[in-house]
Amino acid sequence: MSRSTPPGSDEFEISVLGPGRGECVVIHLGRNEWCVVDSFVPHGQSESAAIEYLSSFENGALHNIQLIVATHWHDDHVRGLASILRRVPTAGFACSDALSSPNFRKLVATAVTSMQGEPGAEEFANILGLIDSVSSRRSKPLASPVWAVENRQLFYTFGAGRFPVRIIALSPSDLTKRLAMEDFAQQLPKAGDSQTRLTSRNENHASVALWIEAGPLRALLGADLEHTANPRTGWKAVLTCHEGSRPDQLAAFLKVPHHGSKTAEVPEMWTTMLEANPIAVVTSFTPSGLPGKADLRRLDKRTTRLYQTTLGTGKPPSRDPSVERMMKQVVKDRQVVSGKSGHVRVRWPIGGNAMAPAIEVFNGAEKYQSARRGGN
């Protein structure tokens, strides 16, 4: 099927898009209504990858976005979200409750006023500015973000002739939120500090993992949530919450958390939250070398239906040979972040009896071929 063929009204779709850095999940909620989780801007473009994909249907899908979720504020997850909000001001916006902290607002403001800048914070400043400007014009409905915390329902739709859809935040837990707020306070610069870019990666624990219910189908989007030793934070807290709220429900789909990093690996997630042999999609984060070969082998042991949006690093650009020679002399461990936005699309027909999914890959995305299965 062509990439620009829209889903049927009764089809549930999860599309995972990602280059070497950045990811975006586009979800069809039925009846041409959509949800976008995180965003990146493809190379050479100025707007979100979600805009490009939804516009390709030419059926008004872009303007039927119901909910935009920022799982956390790192630039590989939020670039282009403001461009979606600008195009679709009627969409709801949800993000981690940790970001409601006044110190996060201050941190964003310092990043914007800093001479160094910080793309993730600047994008968030744009988002918050848009929300504020829309609410001050009283033009509804962006009065405030929906602050996501553990077990909070972010979206629910139902009605005659359609399958019900519920989107629930699984994180952050109360403790994670408090720790993240303390982290924001610590990151605030003091007089005399250097104006450096914000690159702290500690707030992954405050990421918003999502549980999606579409008719009888369940999906788990792991965001960048990581595992911690503390049972009240990270994946341990999510598992405890899941056991108490939805003990019998298992997901058929997983957006692998934190680009397949072992820091996000929790065996109990696979056994208590996912069906056997689920469809799993992993995105890349080349700056940290994720997913590494060992990560892919580990994931491959969990499921035979593992897909990657991007394979390895990108191809070095063509430059003058003398420039290339000098580059090789000066730097080590050089890697090119792939600019190609791979796309893994899964569609389930919810209305009929058959629930067999149609899995398609585009733009260089591939199913992982393990040695065990006779592949690479």
């Binding site: 190379h43 607002r105 006023t113 580059m327 730097v331």
Partner: protein
Amino acid sequence: MKPKESFDTFSRGQNEQNKNVLSTTAAASSGHPIFEYASTSSLGAYQPASKLGSTAAQPLVSTKPPTSTESENFRPEVPRGVAVPPKFKPIRSGRNASLLTRQLWEGTVTELRDDGSFVAVLADKTDPGNSDEIAAFSPEDVTDDEVRLVKVGSSFYWIIGSERTPTGVIKTVSMVRFRRVPAWTQSKLKRAAELARHAADSGRDEKE
């Protein structure tokens, strides 16, 4: 070292070390050889062989002509050595070294390693259509006065270019230059806090 600096050192250094040495910048720059004369008392057998030719270290040269009282002992001065002017072309004023930038990246430090090297994300500023790259730089790539600027989150420019020396030699060079940004001040932090408070208040007013 640049040729211009080498030339200056040659002429100036000789004169400063030994005022008796006959060596002038004008003569040197004219391209003619400079003849050096030793005093009569130091000629021939009086001159230790070990000192021959070391005009820079010995007071061998006299610029004064002999007086009448010295006439009976007068002997014509014999050149003891010759200083050949440098082969460098004379430096024309106004012709300085130049750098043609052929490739420019903006880097952001993402990781400091134990061996002093650092990892950075590089954004291609020459061709923004190119993908970002990740690379590790060694500490030797940073000048001594910029080492203190290497921190996680600091940004720099990496330039690969063609340097043309004043003598016309062209070579490919690499330069890493860290951005020097002023430190946070109380007033700037106050402005940021006010900006954050204003944004939060406008959202809260609407909710109420």
